[in-house]
């Protein structure tokens, strides 16, 4: 020991609207760092977490990112939840050539040299979920309900194109957007009910975000929409969100993730136990973005070991190809597009607030950071290996579009 510790930045909102989701991620990072230190640290040095609070304020994210990198001189940053916060810090990471691990499922359409996306791209979550419903629940009519922002908009665009490519007709798709924090769902739920009464099996694909979910599910329960009638499959509702809801009336509604707390593997059992010990709370839940950080952190550790340094430029190069075990019994690999491979799991809500995994992909799925279902991006690929080293290479024109270095 003796050497100065390696600093790692944690950039998650601890106050404001996103604190609900992000606080847990800060905690899990502290746990992972503590565990790594117990194992002797990294390159013979201790790891030290630098926690800041960007307070759900997007420009503050950029400010704090800059502070972490230039003032605290962190080797890597684990952080952000919303896409806008990531967009806000992205130029900072690129300018200062540092590393960000982004652990949340997002809309794709991005690949930066300095960001490692450990959450799901749309094809690692949304499309398999729709396939599941079509195959197993014989769904023919679709409600795409989301909060009005970029992630749901893009996801729904992709899903719409995908469903149409499968022969679903226009009138069998209903798209509905609500504001952030929408709390009065009476009308919309009734509308869904009406839409679902056309005689075809109907399902709701929900990209409703955070706060709005509790009142949404409460209203579903109240109006008596059961999963056996109109199932709802959500991409942003995990164990953490369900902790705030009485799930008895919601049994059978679905969520698509790459991890569920209920997955019964030795790795996961161990992780949950560590988590409970660390938080001294045997009831704390785990969720998908936590697993993403688990994977991301382990990948970073491995890459640093491989590169023999924490110098971001070297670590970035070392990252590609790193493979670590995930918590669901398989391995995740960092691909040249800076996204990771993930299994896709579909879970049904149980009455204890956990999910019952009813389906999963046989292997892992590689992320389509550029969606083949969108006009503008279907010709783009990302590959950060030299000589290509480009986040948005247009295979048609053969050029690395834009200025992304």
């Amino acid at each position: 020991q003796g050497a100065a510790p390696i600093k790692v930045g944690i950039l998650h909102s601890l106050s404001g609207t996103m604190a609900i989701s992000e606080t847990t991620l800060k905690d899990v990072m502290l746990m992972l760092i503590e565990q790594q230190n117990k194992k002797g640290g990294l390159l013979g040095r201790k790891i030290e977490a630098v926690v800041v609070d960007p307070a759900s304020n997007w420009p503050l994210f950029a400010e704090k990112a800059r502070q972490l990198i230039t003032v605290d001189k962190v080797a890597a940053v684990f952080g952000c939840w919303t896409s806008v916060s990531r967009k806000s810090v992205l130029p900072v990471f690129e300018e200062l050539n540092s590393i960000l691990f982004y652990p949340v499922q997002y809309e794709g359409e991005e690949s930066s040299k300095n960001v490692f996306y450990t959450g799901a791209a749309p094809n690692q979550q949304a499309i398999p979920a729709v396939d599941y419903l079509a195959a197993n629940e014989k769904v023919q009519r679709w409600v795409l309900a989301g909060t009005d922002y970029v992630y749901p908009r893009t996801t729904n665009k992709i899903l719409e194109a995908y469903l149409k490519s499968k022969g679903v007709k226009d009138e069998d798709i209903m798209i509905n957007y609500t504001p952030f924090g929408h709390s009065d769902w009476q009308n919309i739920v009734a509308q869904i009910k009406r839409f679902g009464s056309a005689g075809k099996k109907t399902a709701v694909v929900s990209t409703i975000n955070g706060d709005a979910n509790v009142p949404f599910y409460k209203e579903l329960a109240n109006q008596g929409i059961k999963a056996t009638d109109i199932p709802v499959v959500a991409f942003s509702v995990g164990e953490e969100e369900l902790a705030g809801i009485d799930t008895k009336p919601l049994v059978g509604h679905l969520a698509a993730w790459n991890y569920f707390q209920s997955v019964n593997t030795a790795a996961n059992r161990g992780f949950i136990k560590d988590w409970h010990d660390f938080t001294k709370n045997p009831k704390r839940t785990t969720n998908d973005p936590m697993e993403a950080h688990y994977i991301g952190f382990n990948m970073w550790v491995k890459a640093v070991q491989k590169a023999g340094t924490t110098d971001p430029a070297k670590v970035i190069d070392a990252m590609i190809g790193i493979t670590v075990p995930n918590l669901t019994g398989g391995y995740s690999a960092m691909m040249p597009n800076h996204h990771i491979t993930k299994p896709v799991l579909i879970g049904e809500v149980k009455n204890d607030g956990q999910f019952n995994v009813v389906w999963q992909t046989p292997g892992t799925v590689v992320a389509n950071e550029w969606s083949p279902y969108l006009e503008g991006s279907k010709d783009l690929i990302a590959d950060w290996r030299s000589p290509l080293s480009c986040g948005n290479f247009n295979v048609k024109t053969g050029k690395c579009g834009g200025a992304s270095k």
């Binding site: 307070a55 230039t70 504001p179």
Partner: protein
Amino acid sequence: MTRTSTAICLVLVLGGAVALAALNLATAPGSALHVPPYVVSLVGKYLCYAILALAVDLVWGFAGILSLGHAAFFALGGYAMGMYLMRQIGARGVYANPVLPDFMVFLNWQELPWYWHGFDNPLFAMLMVVAVPGLLALVFGWLAFRSRVSGVYLSIITQALTYALLLAFFRNDMGFGGNNGLTDFKDIFGLPLQADATRAGLLVATAVALALCLLLSYGIVTSRFGKVLIAVRDAESRTRFLGYRPENYKLFVWVISAIMAGIGGALYVPQVGIINPSEFAPANSIEAVIWVAVGGRGTLVGAVLGAILVSGGKTYFTGALPEFWLFALGALFILVTLFLPAGIVGALRRRRRTPATVPAPEPAE
């Protein structure tokens, strides 16, 4: 708004900014005197906030209009600048579309909406920076002041205004990038945004803008116009019987103030690198009011001081006490109110004032 304090403030703002910029550019990164770029952009951001605070103080401190929606003008100025910066990207966006910004491409927009036209021209864009907030303020103010909407009613509709804009800009269909807003700017007036020199230049430009706004405000409030304004603030109906038209007075400062806020926002965007609808959040406007209250309402200099101190405090506390900073900041607000009733500047100045300005608490008034 005494002459001396205003002068001191001007010198500090201008001198400080120039010094920081010079130390950033002229010294080597290792040297003891070196000012890191982080500090340059941070101070630049504070000064933008100070412009907003000044704008709030002008209407609140002197015309009695408690605007809980001033950040809307700030954000509109910011969006105008953001649209210019967006157009500057040209084909360097991720989709390499020479005309459409990235967010339009991936949501399958076919052509640039009409209101985006012209923003590739810097002059036009700068005109819009003042025109858009100014026009909105003109229309809104004309309606409200003519109908004699005042007090909390006015405050709440300003809040409704910014909230409505927040929701509107959130909508992807509006064509302003939805929740993500506008980002990924490359350069401004042909200069690369990430260059230290550009940053230092922006800092100095902001300081100059702040100084001009301060001078302008000082000129306004110390003129006879300013006296009428104060009379309007405290006895609006009485001024009417003297033949003054309070609505015109209010409208004038309101529009000036909105334009100032817009300029603040326009300078803010290139320095923080993003503009998105959360800038319209009512909480932001309330924060601006709080800067003014902390610094001292109706003192101009106090607004500048308050904005810098509170934002600086926020920067410091969110880093040093990430889990408890809200306690610190909240307590600061409470303590300032209780112990410095006229704000920091007011407290420094409290000498000749009789307590009639500030009625004694229990049991008197």
